[in-house]
Symmetry: D2
Subunit: 145 residues, 4 copies
């Protein structure tokens, strides 16, 4: 990719930044890994995420997708608070178990104005994805490479 291979921020720095600009955002999210153009984020299980049938709610999975992509993006562009999601789509593939869900995000494009990536989500106990998501972030001018 034509993006710098070095990370602008590591997992601890991203967690600190997100808690700063968006208090509460990371209460149930743990950044497990950040690599160039990639991130892995764990959403901790909590009973209030359940839908009837014992499955994790759709909006919770969307929040995980959104967060995992944001983490991958911040790893590349650093402390840029103003990026906003402009598009998100999600395919619900299987009912996730009542357990943690892990989101694996990869950044496919990091442009001057838009960043695009996708996220596969897995229940902690399963090896097939429960959901797939694509996310587009709009990056404020003069802030990204």
């Amino acid at each position: 990719m034509s993006v710098p291979a070095l990370l602008a921020l590591n997992a601890a720095e991203i967690t600190e930044f997100l808690n700063e600009v968006f208090p509460g955002a990371m209460d149930a999210m743990v950044i497990e890994d950040v690599q160039p153009n990639a991130a892995r984020v764990r959403m901790l299980y909590a009973p209030n995420r359940l839908r009837p049938g014992g499955t994790i709610s759709g909006p919770s999975l969307m929040a995980l997708a959104d967060t995992a992509m944001w983490v991958a993006l911040l790893g590349m562009i650093g402390r840029v608070p103003l990026s906003v999601t402009s598009h998100l789509d999600i395919d619900f593939l299987r009912k996730p178990a009542p357990a943690d869900v892990i989101g694996h995000a990869r950044l496919l494009k990091l442009g001057k104005r838009l960043a695009v990536g996708d996220v596969l989500m897995y229940s902690d106990t399963e090896d097939v994805p429960c959901a797939r998501s694509s996310v587009t972030y709009a990056i404020p001018r003069n802030m990204a490479g």
Copy 2:
């Protein structure tokens, strides 16, 4: 449309049903209108929906889109608890104000297995949409017309 023009359920009946199968789902949602292949749902403002900058969070808007489509669908097919969202996409168009958001859902296809529709969302105080969403529901066999 090749679907019955009569409603299977009205707004009060859908609210009752959703509270029954999905306790808490309607705590912040008010069904304002149900018509054949259409529904209007209001998401009540609450400070915990805010993102930094005073805007309503993305997952809250996705929950509204999902709920508004589900209401439109239940109006047509009645008390079918097992329908599940299979796909949702959302375009965030403008920052919504810190206020109620109203979702206008229309059902574009009601097939035997899939229902597809879209939702425009407006801040209570604005006349341009803050978000656009498309939603696909998978309907259990033998339950829909």
Copy 3:
């Protein structure tokens, strides 16, 4: 909307412009109407658009969605050749008849950098939509309001 209500270009001017910058693009497309933030485009039936079963091919419907949105956008921003589609999604709702297909585009957001809208498509002989599409265009800097 916070966009100018006057059209920058009318249907004839847009057709001329598209033929100029994209020879052949309008061979099978007729712009039937352009309004502020809206356009109606007819895709003429041709046997080579057919898929087995006598239905119009998916890529043809995607081309119609893309064109109809571009027309609606050009009506607002004028002769800007460099806009490019950044995202397109499409739900195939019903098999379209072997006939012309009409796309009704509406522009939901016209920002400085992104334009977002959706398109409903109808077979000429039917009153329910055969497809629904959302399209995002990236607008070159300094060219849009």
Copy 4:
């Protein structure tokens, strides 16, 4: 995955089948590889795929995404002619060069009624993707595992 690991059809058999049910579909497409839940398809360069600026047209990339997913699906479920695309979305990431484009499809879910996967597309001469697509296929009843 809970799907059979053996292929129902290999590349040559899928090509033969597609030419049979959809004459012309494979004129510009070459199936390079089929694996369980995956396929690689090459779209041959032809000048009529160009858009102004010398880039491959959007509808051509969409056709490649659709075909690559169909190939991956047929590899798993065999000679089922009636599957239809129900949803496709595509992110255009970079202008593809005027060259062959290769689509890498992976099947993320193969259910009884829906198959969902995604496709990354690369210009033959480049190592970053030019487009990302997600595709849902509706499978006729009684035909898939």
